[in-house]
């Protein structure tokens, strides 16, 4: 997110507006650095305040959007996510968990964004790929695998060192299933495609639910417990440095770091793919399939590639998720999850990488932090005498809020919070031809502070 290779043609207007209002001098540096420092200290001194936490996280947005050079972005990003956040995590594990959870959903949203946003293929069964990664590691890191390969029973469960191998295998398996899903739906578009992918997602979940007979592969509805954890290869280093810590805290930090690394890799991959001939082919397919194919874009290969590439992100995160939770069961992978991820993509702005990151983070925060905290606050207010009904619990209404947010976004900002330039133009042009042209004109006249920064 902090490395900026965006081509000037796709520069974001928010950044340009900021550049215009702040000028090109030292002001933006001072503002951003000041923001990061104040937000960090506020959170460190109030490690249980959700508001401080939100302000702190939004410093990442500031880092991304303020017109500062790339090296400063990278440095500030490292300080925030690599320094302050782990430190706060030691004071309040909850926040670290929230960020890790958000990172998992960010990778999922980025993956779905490749399929839906880049290539325009509506996929309502995306969570299936997450399930495939999760079950892959769950089965082989527990005695479950011995049921499948009775001859090799002695070698299961696999040791923790295999975790990283399975991270790769999760990517490969999900990619293969992506192709498998892609093949039958190649000829379908729009609604038909959505229905078939929805079915695919359910098939995978039902398989997980029912593959406990005749051979117990997935553990059925009980799921799989005691899933293996990744190797603590850095333990000797910690011992040598005489760092005292509990395994729980270590793993928490470990998963946080792993999730961040995977997210960084997915962001880079999504970005590079989108800026390449592959990404251009996807956009062309989304725009006009017939014209794309007549210009030499191999439709089948590019669509399969979109399904596979999108799926890989979920596969890797599935492996991590299983190792982190140590327990998985089919309901985790139901269709509501697919819809949630799609909602994250839509909220952020379809086809937009920063949008997917923001959308996933916001919705995860809303679900895990903001709504529960609001509920607690209501309880406090009621005790203080405010007339709030006794059994009103906002957490129960999570989906309602969720739906409301989506409805409001589609009404007031149909292109998403951080739209991709193309989508914005598309939606504006549908609204009115004049505005569309005015907008295009507008973009031409804007300064591009990113030009020259590589």
């Amino acid at each position: 997110m902090s490395t900026s290779q965006q081509s000037p043609a796709l520069g974001s207007t928010l950044r340009e507006r900021l550049a215009a209002s702040l000028g090109q001098g030292v002001t933006p540096y001072v503002v951003v650095v000041g923001y990061v420092v104040i937000a960090s200290f506020w959170l460190i001194s109030n490690p249980f305040s959700t508001i401080a936490f939100l302000v702190f996280l939004s410093s990442l947005l500031a880092i991304y959007y303020f017109p500062i050079p790339t090296w400063l972005r990278v440095a500030l990003g490292l300080i925030v996510l690599g320094g302050v956040m782990p430190y706060v995590g030691n004071l309040n594990q909850g926040f670290l968990d929230v960020v890790t959870q958000a990172a998992i959903f960010v990778a999922l949203a980025l993956g779905l964004n490749v399929v839906v946003g880049f290539a325009g293929l509506l996929d309502l069964g995306y969570i299936a790929f997450f399930a495939i990664g999760a079950y892959l590691w769950a089965i082989f890191s527990t005695p479950q695998a011995a049921n499948i390969f009775p001859g090799l029973a002695a070698s299961f469960p696999l040791g923790s060192a295999w975790f990283f191998v399975f991270l790769i295998l999760g990517v490969v398996a999900a990619g293969l299933f992506g192709v498998l899903l892609g093949l039958p739906v190649l000829r379908l578009r729009g609604d038909y495609l959505a229905i078939v992918t929805l079915g695919f997602g359910e098939v995978i979940r039902l398989l997980a639910n029912n593959l406990n007979r005749p051979v117990n592969i997935t553990g059925g509805a009980q799921g799989i417990t005691n899933i293996g954890q990744p190797p603590l290869f850095f333990q000797p280093a910690l011992d040598a440095l005489n760092v005292q810590s509990s395994p729980g805290a270590e793993y928490r930090m470990y998963f946080y770091a792993l999730a961040l690394v995977i997210v960084l890799i997915t962001i880079m991959s999504a970005r590079r793919l989108n800026d390449s001939r592959v990404g251009r082919a996807w956009t062309a397919i989304r725009e006009d399939e017939t014209a794309a194919i007549a210009m030499g874009v191999p439709l089948v290969r590019m669509k399969l590639l979109a399904f596979a590439a999108g799926a890989t992100f979920a596969g890797a995160m599935g492996v991590l998720y299983a190792a982190k939770l140590r327990f998985i069961s089919p309901p985790t992978f139901d269709v509501v999850q697919s819809i949630s991820i799609l909602a994250m993509v839509i909220l952020g702005g379809m086809g937009s990488i920063p949008g997917a990151v923001l959308g996933a983070t916001l919705i995860t925060l809303l679900n895990l932090r903001i709504l529960p905290d609001f509920a607690n606050q209501l309880v406090l207010w009621r005790r203080a005498g405010l007339p709030i009904p006794a059994n009103f619990d906002p957490v129960q209404y999570q989906r309602l809020f969720f739906g409301l947010v989506l409805i409001l976004v589609t009404i007031f900002r149909p292109e998403g919070l951080l739209p991709e330039r193309r989508r914005r133009a598309e939606l504006k042009a549908e609204g009115s031809k004049d505005t569309g042209e005015a907008l295009v004109q507008d973009e031409q006249n804007m300064v591009h502070p990113d030009v020259g920064i590589k």
Binding site: P8, A9, M268, S269, R272, L273, S276, R277, V278, R280, A281, T283, A284, E287, D288, T290, A291, A292, I293, A294, M295, G296, V297, P298, L299, L305, A309, R422, R423, A425, E426, A429, G436, E437, V440, Q441, Q444
Partner: protein, 282 residues
């Protein structure tokens, strides 16, 4: 030897024979026009050549290699690209990106190379952009490279379609009504551009066009389709005086029925010294 050769191409849609035993031979570096009344099967013929439809019968070859059964993207990679009658640009991509999509078959970067972002890949991208800008220069759109395609004026959109079709370095380009809806000045520019395709780039051009002055001015040969059949083929002069062509065009205005015998007497027809212009193998 002819660069492009279609023999007895036939395409049915249910009971309708949209293209009926059409044969067309195009020499390298020539400009050939396909004309005919609306619904004559001209665009269908283009769709068959570019692989969007498969022919029911007949053979199509480019440089002696058969194109029947190939997918449209394979045919594009093989050397035939086209423009569309109702402009089909990628509206929300920039002008340069439109051309880069057209270059897809000429770029080789694999997914791994793209993800690793090595120097070879970056060089290829850089060269692609340079080539794209050169092509935009050729169609006189370089100054609009970073604008969205949808923001272009009508004539510019037509030029961009040609630029995009050129990006795959075709041997043969099919232009579907390149001057439709243009004013005389724009038509002149379009004519000039088509001639430059052949003269400067050495590309063979087949075009569908209703603007007869354009057709007569630039075509070496003209094929005339009517009701899916090729009713005439020859030089502009031959076509101008061909009675069947005149009937196909002017007979339409009559009661809507057509006989097999030529109706009326037209000055051009009367003056025709050589009424027996070669007709197709119908």
């Amino acid at each position: 030897m002819a660069l492009f050769e279609a023999k007895d191409v036939k395409k049915r849609f249910g009971g309708l024979v949209a293209v009926n035993e059409v044969s067309l031979s195009v020499d390298e570096r020539s400009i050939v026009s396909v004309i005919g009344p609306n619904g004559a099967g001209k665009t269908t013929f283009f769709n068959i050549v570019t692989g969007i439809y498969q022919p029911d019968e007949g053979t199509i070859t480019l440089n002696g290699r058969s194109l029947v059964g190939l997918r449209p993207d394979q045919i594009a990679a093989f050397g035939i690209t086209r423009t569309f009658q109702n402009i089909r640009l990628f509206n929300n991509m920039t002008v340069l990106e439109n051309v880069l999509v057209g270059m897809h078959t000429r770029l080789n970067a694999s997914v791994w190379q793209i993800l690793l972002h090595g120097s070879g890949y970056r060089r290829e991208e850089r060269q692609a952009i340079e080539r794209g800008l050169d092509l935009l220069e050729f169609v006189n759109l370089r100054h609009r490279a970073d604008d969205l395609a949808r923001s272009l004026a009508y004539g510019e959109q037509r030029r961009l379609e040609i630029g995009r079709a050129l990006a795959s370095a075709p041997k043969l380009i099919l232009l579907d009504e390149p001057a439709a809806g243009m004013n005389p000045q724009e038509t002149e520019d379009a004519t000039d551009l088509i001639l430059r395709l052949r003269d400067q780039l050495g590309i063979t051009v087949v075009l569908i066009e209703h603007d007869m002055s354009l057709v007569m001015e630039i075509s070496e040969r003209i094929a005339v389709l009517d009701y899916g059949r090729m009713i005439a083929e020859g030089t502009p002069k031959e076509i101008r005086h061909n009675p069947r062509v005149i009937e196909a065009y002017l007979g339409q205005g009559a009661a809507g029925t057509r006989g097999d015998t030529p109706r009326g007497t037209l000055p051009a027809q009367a003056a025709a010294a050589n009424p027996g212009a070669p007709t197709s193998s119908t």
